[in-house]
């Protein structure tokens, strides 16, 4: 018996399910079955050449997993979502795995894409792991995908704000021009309540507000496009915003003094600033030293972003005297109590 109730409950659920699971049956294909197999071999053989380049493209459009070990069974460190950025998968994994690229082996796992292992020194390592060697066409496909990412980045940088539908059309044209048959742009616009602005952008990642490499979905052959703020606004909220959050964990601000401080810090942006203040949601903790100040009755900054109009900077504050935030998982912006709007 485990001390964790969930573990016991899951064990019971598994036991119940497995007790009623039908025993798998294995049988050789009959005459009709063999005919189907033969036909499949013929058809697959016929399309193999075309499929090779296509699957290499999709492989290159995905990320790379670095497995520190010669197989999954003896792996110690796993790193996922490594971007090749023009390097070979072995070169991309080398710094993460702290091994020279020459001592790494890249394989093609049908389910997980490119997987890099430490070389075992024995030939046929990928095959022994039940996966394929990286196809010879991978390097060309990777360069092809790299050209696409570069073109998408250039599209995004060409204007400060490009409408999502326009960006989608231009992405479609780029995909056609660079030879990505079957790929298309897909608009994934946020609902109004969490709308982030009138501009089209690629999905944000931790290191970028709009990352073309992160927009490639090789499972569905699409380039994802979100809506967001203009580039200039993202730049302001991304850099100054985090500085403000950190600053509010270094000393005690009143609601009024933090607003003065924020306005001074954002003065160079020449944008209207909108403040919203709530009490913290029960059970949540603010990091970066802010919780202590919040508990002492100080006001802290919890978020800096762009309003749906694309030009107003929204600053979310928390202090104990404000109304509590919604207890539900999603807090619509309307739940924030506007306390001041600067001209």
């Amino acid at each position: 018996m485990s001390q964790i109730p969930f573990v016991n409950q899951l064990g019971d659920a598994l036991e119940m399910a497995t007790a009623h699971a039908p025993a798998p049956r294995r049988r050789l294909p009959g005459r009709r079955g063999w005919l189907v197999v033969a036909l499949a071999v013929l058809v697959l053989g016929g399309i193999a050449a075309a499929e090779t380049l296509r699957s290499s493209t999709n492989l290159a459009a995905g990320r790379i997993s670095c497995i520190s070990g010669t197989s999954n069974a003896n792996a110690k460190v796993f790193s996922y979502d490594i971007e090749a950025n023009g390097r070979t998968p072995q070169q991309a994994c080398s710094p993460v795995m702290r091994r020279p690229a020459g001592r790494l082996v890249a394989c093609d796992s049908a389910r997980y894409g490119v997987v890099v292992y430490e070389a075992s020194g024995r030939p046929g390592q990928c095959g022994r792991l039940g996966i394929r060697v990286l196809p010879a066409t991978y390097a060309a496909a990777d360069a092809h995908v790299h050209r696409l990412i570069f073109a998408l980045a250039r599209l995004y940088r060409a204007q400060n704000c490009i409408a999502p539908a326009t960006l989608a059309r231009e992405v479609d044209a780029t995909l056609a021009r660079l030879g990505f048959p079957g790929w298309r742009a897909a608009l994934q616009l946020s609902p109004a309540r969490s709308s982030t602005g009138p501009c089209g952008q690629f999905p944000a990642t931790g290191s970028s507000a709009s990352d073309p490499a992160a927009s490639l979905d090789n499972q569905h052959d699409i380039v994802m496009i979100n809506n967001g703020a203009a580039r200039s606004m993202d730049s302001v909220t991304g850099t100054v915003g985090y500085r403000l959050i950190v600053a509010s964990g270094r000393r005690c601000y009143t609601l009024a003094s933090i607003q003065r401080y924020v306005r001074r810090a954002l003065a160079a942006a020449h944008s209207p600033i909108e403040f919203a203040s709530t009490a913290e949601q029960a059970g949540t903790q603010a990091m970066l030293g802010r919780q202590r100040y919040y508990d002492e009755g100080c006001a802290i900054v919890v978020g800096v972003g762009t309003a749906a109009d694309g030009r107003t900077i929204q600053v979310q504050l928390q202090d104990r005297s404000s109304s509590p935030a919604s207890a539900s998982g999603n807090v619509p912006p309307s739940a924030y109590q506007p306390v001041l709007r600067s001209p």
Partner: protein, 183 residues
């Protein structure tokens, strides 16, 4: 006591042997998942899918002298890899097998969190967080520390819900990597 390999071979005919194997490895695998994803709900789902896959593939297990646990960890690492690549736990085997995965209760969450050395983990976590970019740290903080839903994270980060998920999962993957890489 039967070895893991013996239990796996016996489970082909006797599902109770599979339960014995589950009882032996479930907590350790749960801790393995939790250390990497830092989210008890995700860790619980990964555990369920791992054992569902293991049951489905038990006939493919060959006793080559390696511990049966290594075979389970192989499945677990694949499920983890799928989670980090696709930002969601694969539940194909759970559905196929018809497992009614129980809801994770508060007591279980507390005990899962208590399984890992909190002090050492906290120090490792703090050091790893310092190495992350501001955007990643913010997303991870909102999800893991503040325990906010993706809708609210999206509202706070002023991005779409899909982008918030991407940020959080990329951040967690990076954080997990940084914590693993720590000597």
């Amino acid at each position: 006591m039967r070895s893991d390999a013996e239990l796996l071979l016996a489970s082909r005919q006797d599902p109770r042997a599979f339960r014995e194997l589950y009882d032996r490895w479930a907590e350790e695998l749960l801790a393995y998942f939790y250390r990497r994803v830092l989210d008890p709900d995700v860790a619980a789902d990964l555990l369920a899918e791992t054992f569902a896959v293991a049951f489905e593939r038990r006939r493919r297990f060959r006793d080559l002298g390696r511990p049966g646990g290594a075979w389970l960890y192989g499945i677990a690492s694949k499920e983890l890899s799928h989670f980090f690549r696709h930002r969601q736990v694969e539940k194909r085997a759970i559905r196929k097998l018809g497992v009614m995965v129980p809801v994770l209760d508060q007591e279980s969450v507390q005990r899962i969190e208590a399984m890992i050395d909190q002090d050492e983990h906290r120090q490792t976590l703090a050091a790893a967080m310092e190495q992350m970019s501001a955007g990643e740290r913010d997303a991870v903080e909102l999800r893991v520390i503040s325990e906010l839903g993706y809708g609210e994270i999206a509202a706070r980060l002023r991005c779409s819900e899909a982008a918030a998920r991407t940020r959080v999962h990329r951040g967690l993957a990076h954080l997990s990597n940084l914590m693993e890489a720590k000597p």
